[in-house]
Structure formats: structure tokens, C-alpha cells
């Protein structure tokens, strides 16, 4: 039997909410119907706090904190929405759009993309920063799948689902900062990977059109992620 869980009381946007001590602010907010925008977060994968869209204000803390990796504390006072947060979230989203070439109209994920939806949700109707238009590769060497680095937002969902759920750890991130790229094995073409099991989980969790099944045209990429909770439970039972 588990030890008795400690209950914590905190305030989100002025309202008192109760939580288990090991929960994150994002968990508790969503449980209480408070929406905090996220891109890299995916339920059932380890949280990494990478995209920074879930930044929230915590009373007494000078810095904004990512809600997906910040645990609740007794008496904590959290604000999930403010003009300051709106400004930062919009800037973050705009910068994501400038870093690669996101051409929604010709993208395999058009109409089924978390990045596109986020722009609409945050009212981002144009990008104020200069587009970088980097020259980045497309790898179509895999028999079933492709990766278009033009659409990658470095959320690392593919890396995490491959390592944590499939157990293959084919994907990882190399380089740093603006030169970061997801890659397979020892940076060999995906089709030559000796660890890839062809399971397609990475393709299903990709929030954009970076990973896709071959043969899909514009707007045809669909996703299936309801397998995650089952597989996660199965893996935990094996431990």
C-alpha cells in the first residue's frame, strides 16, 4: 500500500485548489479546468520544460516558472494568465515560427498541428521577428516514415516516446541552441538505423509535420496517441 498522500492547498488565479504534494502546477491547473498552453508537454511522457509556453507567475518568485516541471507547494500563489505572460508566450511562439520553415499551406500536418493551433489560440496573426529561413535537411531514407527538419520545433516528444515507451532510444538531440537537431542513432540516415523498430510512435506524437508517414499529402497526416497510457502502464508493471 502506498503511504498516505499529503494534500497541499494552493491558489491558482486567486482560487484555492487542493493537490497532491508531488503534482505539478500544470497537472493541478488542468484538473481544475484551467488551461495553460503547452507544446512540448505530452501526458504520459516525462516533462522537460523545453518549449516554455507554460510559464506561470508565482508570487514571491522573480522568475517565471514552467508549470509542467514545477511542483506545487503549500500556500503557493500562481497566476496562469496576465499581460506579461501573454507577451512572453506570444514572443516564444513567434520565435519558434522564425527558427525553421513552417509553411502551413503545403505541410502534411496542415489542419492537424499543435503549432498551428497554438498560433490561432494565442491570437498570433503574424510574426514580428525576422524569419531565419535556415537550410535544413529532409530525410526520406526510412521505408515507412520521413523527417522534415523544416517543421521540427525541438519539443523532443519523439526522443522521449522512443526512449521511455518503445525503449529503443533511436532519437536524440545533437548540437545546441539554434543549431540543435533531432537525429537517429549515430547521425546516420533514419533508414539505416539499427535501433529503430519501425513502430511509428515518434510519428504519432510529433506535434507538427516534422515526422510523418510516407505517402501522405498536404493535410493528410493524422495522429493516434491513445496508445500512450496503456503502454506506459504496461512498462511500469514490468519494473
Amino acid at each position: 500500500m502506498k503511504p498516505a498522500e499529503q494534500v497541499t492547498v494552493l491558489k491558482i488565479n486567486g482560487d484555492e485548489v487542493s493537490a497532491h504534494a508531488d503534482q505539478t502546477i500544470l497537472d493541478v491547473a488542468r484538473e481544475n479546468g484551467i488551461e495553460i498552453p503547452t507544446l512540448c508537454y505530452l501526458e504520459n511522457l516525462t516533462e522537460v520544460g523545453g518549449c516554455r509556453l507554460c510559464l506561470v507567475e508565482i508570487k514571491g518568485a522573480a522568475k517565471l516558472q514552467p508549470a509542467c516541471v514545477t511542483r506545487v507547494r503549500e500556500g503557493m500563489e500562481v497566476a496562469t494568465h496576465s499581460s506579461r505572460l501573454d507577451t512572453y508566450r506570444r514572443k516564444i511562439l513567434e520565435l519558434i515560427f522564425t527558427e525553421r520553415n513552417h509553411i502551413c499551406s503545403v505541410c502534411v500536418a496542415n489542419g492537424n498541428c499543435d503549432l498551428q493551433d497554438m498560433a490561432a489560440a494565442l491570437g498570433m496573426d503574424h510574426v514580428t521577428y525576422p524569419y531565419l529561413n535556415p537550410s535544413v535537411p529532409v530525410d526520406l531514407s526510412h521505408e515507412l516514415f520521413g523527417i522534415d527538419q523544416n517543421r521540427c520545433i525541438l519539443c523532443t516528444r519523439c526522443v522521449r516516446v522512443c526512449a521511455e515507451i518503445e525503449g529503443a532510444h533511436t532519437w536524440d538531440v545533437r548540437n545546441s541552441g539554434i543549431n540543435s537537431r533531432v537525429f537517429t542513432d549515430f547521425n546516420e540516415p533514419w533508414g539505416e538505423s539499427q535501433t529503430c523498430t519501425n513502430c511509428g510512435k515518434c510519428v504519432n506524437v510529433c506535434p507538427t509535420g516534422a515526422l510523418f508517414k510516407k505517402g501522405k499529402a498536404v493535410g493528410e497526416r493524422t495522429r493516434q496517441i491513445d496508445f500512450l497510457p496503456y503502454l506506459k502502464t504496461m512498462r511500469e508493471e514490468l519494473k
Partner: protein, 186 residues
């Protein structure tokens, strides 16, 4: 006809549309307003457009819809002139708002694109044009990076309904609120 004058009663607001580096899809979507175009024409004078004969942009226009990215020297000169003579400039569609498909050449630069189109893929007299065809800018850019834009309407193309809403709001003297109406790639 100057602003403030009209042969038929009070002056109507003056509407223009221009087509820079785009596929004309935004104009096609505008035409999809069908019978509602008649209502717009009853409320506004369409003073300049690929759809009318006038060849020079008038001195004063209330609302100009711009389709397309700024990709050539000609686009750049046109849009600067249009901005100077327009009250409300609307970036219509993803090419005007983000440079969209035209920007797919940006990672390579203009020279590589011209070489590809006019030399590498041509068997008869391959040569990059140096007259008539407007010189390409090295990058294709969203309209707001070269002139001030008042209203952004993403979409590829924005629906006829969205365009009709934007035009009618502006003609009514209101700034359109596009939240929930359109998105990139729509």
C-alpha cells in the same frame, strides 16, 4: 473622380486590391463572395484591382487588400507607393502575412533559383532574363517587413466569408477581430 466627389450622391469609401507574389487564390476566394460582391460594390467604389481596368494606383484609397509576398523590386516599389496612398492596408492571406510558399526559396537565395529555373532546367537558349521580368529580391518577404500593415488576415486562402467580414467591418469603420475566424494554412 476625387475623394469626396461622386456623380451619384455622397462619396463611397474607396476599395482597392493588389496582387504581388501570390497565386491569385486570395482574389479567387474574394470572388467566391458571389452575390455578396454586389453588396460590397454598392457600399464602396472598387478603384483599383486586377479585376478592373485602371492601370495606375489612385491617390487616395480607404482600404487596400494586398495578396502576395514582396519578392521583386517591382513588388517593393508598388507596395511602398500603395502604402503612401492607402488608409487601411490589409495583408490578405498567408503570402502577404508570412511570405508562405514564395519564401520557400529563401534558404537558397535568388541567384540559385534563377539558375535553376532559367539555366539548369532549360535546353533551348538558357539565359537569366535581364529585361522586362522584374529583378527578384534575394528574399521573399512578408508585407509588414517593408511597410506598415493595419490588418493581418492569415489563411491560404482566407475563406470568402472571412474576407467579406474584414471588408465590411473596415467599411463600417471598425477594426475586424479575426480571432477564431481564420488561421495560417486555413
Amino acid at each position: 473622380m476625387m475623394n469626396g466627389e461622386s456623380r451619384n450622391g455622397p462619396a463611397k469609401p474607396r476599395l482597392a486590391t493588389v496582387w504581388l507574389d501570390g497565386c491569385s487564390g486570395c482574389h479567387m476566394s474574394f470572388l467566391d463572395l458571389d452575390d455578396k460582391l454586389v453588396d460590397i460594390c454598392l457600399r464602396a467604389d472598387l478603384v483599383y484591382s486586377p479585376l478592373v481596368d485602371t492601370k495606375t494606383f489612385p491617390d487616395f484609397v480607404d482600404v487596400t487588400l494586398v495578396e502576395g509576398a514582396v519578392s521583386s523590386q517591382e513588388d517593393l516599389e508598388k507596395i511602398k507607393h500603395i502604402r503612401d496612398h492607402t488608409k487601411f492596408l490589409v495583408a490578405l492571406g498567408d503570402c502577404a502575412v508570412t511570405a508562405n510558399v514564395p519564401s520557400m526559396r529563401n534558404p537558397f537565395g535568388a541567384n540559385a533559383i534563377l539558375r535553376r529555373a532559367y539555366i539548369e532546367n532549360v535546353t533551348l537558349n538558357p539565359r537569366v532574363p535581364d529585361r522586362v521580368v522584374p529583378p527578384l529580391l534575394n528574399r521573399s518577404s512578408p508585407v509588414h517587413t517593408v511597410v506598415k500593415v493595419d490588418v493581418f488576415v492569415p489563411g491560404c486562402p482566407p475563406s470568402a466569408e472571412t474576407i467579406g467580414y474584414v471588408v465590411n467591418e473596415l467599411l463600417d469603420g471598425r477594426m475586424p477581430d479575426l480571432s477564431g475566424r481564420t488561421r495560417f494554412g486555413a
